[in-house]
């Protein structure tokens, strides 16, 4: 006789964990704590406990599926050991062929967004039209209103997909950029040296 699979037999949130597990299997985007609590009509604390159980079960080395905390929510992904098999069947269209220009543009939008194309071009020193269009097409950035002047330029921000692709719980998880104070001073000194050399 078949017996139902019991996640952790003695845990009081066993049934809740199974429901959360089912929701995460159906979802194609990360589900937040609030969304899980609303769907299960349960409290967020009990949801967190259930997610703890699931994380224990769905982890690298124990399962082909891994529970990830990403983009402000929770989602299932494939374990690394299954990567080769996944690569045979599935593309990675979001990351494929990402150019250096696109990555620099993405970094500017992630750190300074919402930001417009002219502002991006001002920092990079070259037009950002194609890089922005490419990132929008990949779904990594999206329009976020316009500058607050008549006929203002479109502004862009990164999307939840960006956080998921780069494995970030939120934008706050972006690393703090190195203190560039010394860099700036060094650059200035070199420029002055060059200027003096030309003058002499």
């Amino acid at each position: 006789m078949d017996r139902p699979l019991r996640l952790i037999a003695s845990n009081p949130v066993d049934a809740l964990a199974r429901t959360v597990e089912a929701l995460l299997v159906v979802a194609s985007q990360p589900l937040t704590l609030d969304e899980l609590a609303e769907a299960t009509a349960d409290g967020t604390e009990r949801i967190e406990t259930a997610l703890g159980l699931l994380r224990e079960r769905y982890s690298e080395g124990r399962s082909g599926i891994v529970l990830q905390k990403v983009a402000g929510g929770y989602a299932f992904g494939a374990a690394r050991e299954a990567a080769a098999a996944c690569a045979c069947l599935f593309e990675r269209p979001v990351e494929r062929g990402m150019s250096q220009a696109a990555l620099e543009t993405l970094a500017i939008v992630a750190y300074l967004g919402p930001v417009s194309r002219p502002e991006i071009a001002g920092i990079r020193g070259v037009a950002a039209d194609s890089a922005v269009a490419s990132l929008v097409e990949r779904g990594l950035i999206a329009e976020a209103g316009r500058e607050s002047v008549p006929g203002g330029a479109v502004r862009y921000r990164v999307t939840a997909l960006f956080e998921r692709v780069f494995g970030l719980e939120s934008l706050a998880a972006l690393p703090r950029l190195d203190d560039i104070g010394e860099d700036q001073a060094a650059i200035r000194d070199r420029l002055l040296e060059v200027a003096e050399a030309r003058a002499s």
Binding site: R80, L106, Y111, S116, G151, A153, L174, L177
Partner: protein, 259 residues
């Protein structure tokens, strides 16, 4: 400026609105020419032209002049005279400004390197990528209903409305034959008469029926009808009398004229 150019609606990344507003903002330096997608403007204008059946050469000429001027403006802005710009700054200030820009760009290059490394780290991680499943449509909940009130409302609507009399609108048409006989009797007594004088005092409807009787008599060839001028009195005479006058060469051909 031709209207087709002035009213051209633009939806560019750096600007959204009519073309003339864009020109105004550019002239006031509220928008940098380098931020404007000139090809987008040209495409918008060509699409506007395609919507119209005929080619507006005046508008095309105006547009070419304006877009050429804008292109020159943008080119000058994109490739400024750097030496002249630097000459306005002290060497230390110029170096400071350049250093600030380079440092900002370098920070973003570092961030891009970090993103690249992050992508490489996660190269082996696959996840489901697709649109979110449709959320169920929320069930529509109605407030407590009272069927008897609905019955009362329908009953009120089902009552036959009171009859409205339209008797005052009824038109009474006397028979045409009545006037035919009347005019025949008149012509027995007199050789001719004026229509207006004969129907004076009758209602408009009766006058209309009387005129129909005239036409009927004319069709039968019993009378001749004449009118010296539009709105002049209509004169009716016996047909045989009119023929005799025609023989004398004095008969006036009756011509129906519309008022």
């Amino acid at each position: 400026m031709a209207s087709a150019v002035r009213d051209l609606e633009l939806d560019l990344d750096a600007f959204e609105g009519p073309f003339d507003l864009l020109l105004t903002l550019l002239l006031k330096d509220a928008i940098q020419p380098s931020e404007i997608d000139m090809a987008g403007i040209v495409v918008a204008f060509v699409e506007r032209l395609a919507e119209r059946d005929e080619l507006d050469l005046d508008a095309c000429g105006e547009f070419l002049v304006l877009i050429a001027a804008l292109l020159e403006l943008k080119a000058r802005h994109l490739f400024p005279d750097e030496e002249a710009e630097l000459s306005e700054l002290e060497p230390e200030e110029a170096a400071e400004e350049l250093a600030r820009r380079l440092a900002e760009y370098r920070r973003m290059k570092h961030a891009a390197v970090w993103l690249r490394e992050r992508l490489d780290e996660r190269r082996d991680l696959y996840f489901r990528l697709g649109p979110a499943p449709l959320a169920p449509t929320p069930e529509r909940r109605l407030a407590q209903q009272e069927p008897l009130r609905l019955v009362e409302a329908i009953r009120g609507l089902a009552v036959e409305p009171p009859h409205v009399s339209i008797s005052h609108l009824a038109l009474r048409f006397p028979p045409v034959s009545q006037f035919v006989e009347r005019f025949r009797a008149v012509l027995v007594r007199r050789r001719r008469f004026d229509f207006d004088a004969e129907v004076q005092g009758l209602s408009r409807v009766e006058q209309a029926v009387a005129f129909l009787a005239l036409l009927e008599l004319r069709k039968e060839g019993e009378i001749a009808i004449s009118q010296a001028a539009p709105f002049a009195p209509i004169r009716i005479s016996r047909a045989d009398d009119a023929i005799s006058r025609s023989d004398d060469g004095r008969m006036l051909q009756w011509t129906a004229r519309s008022a």
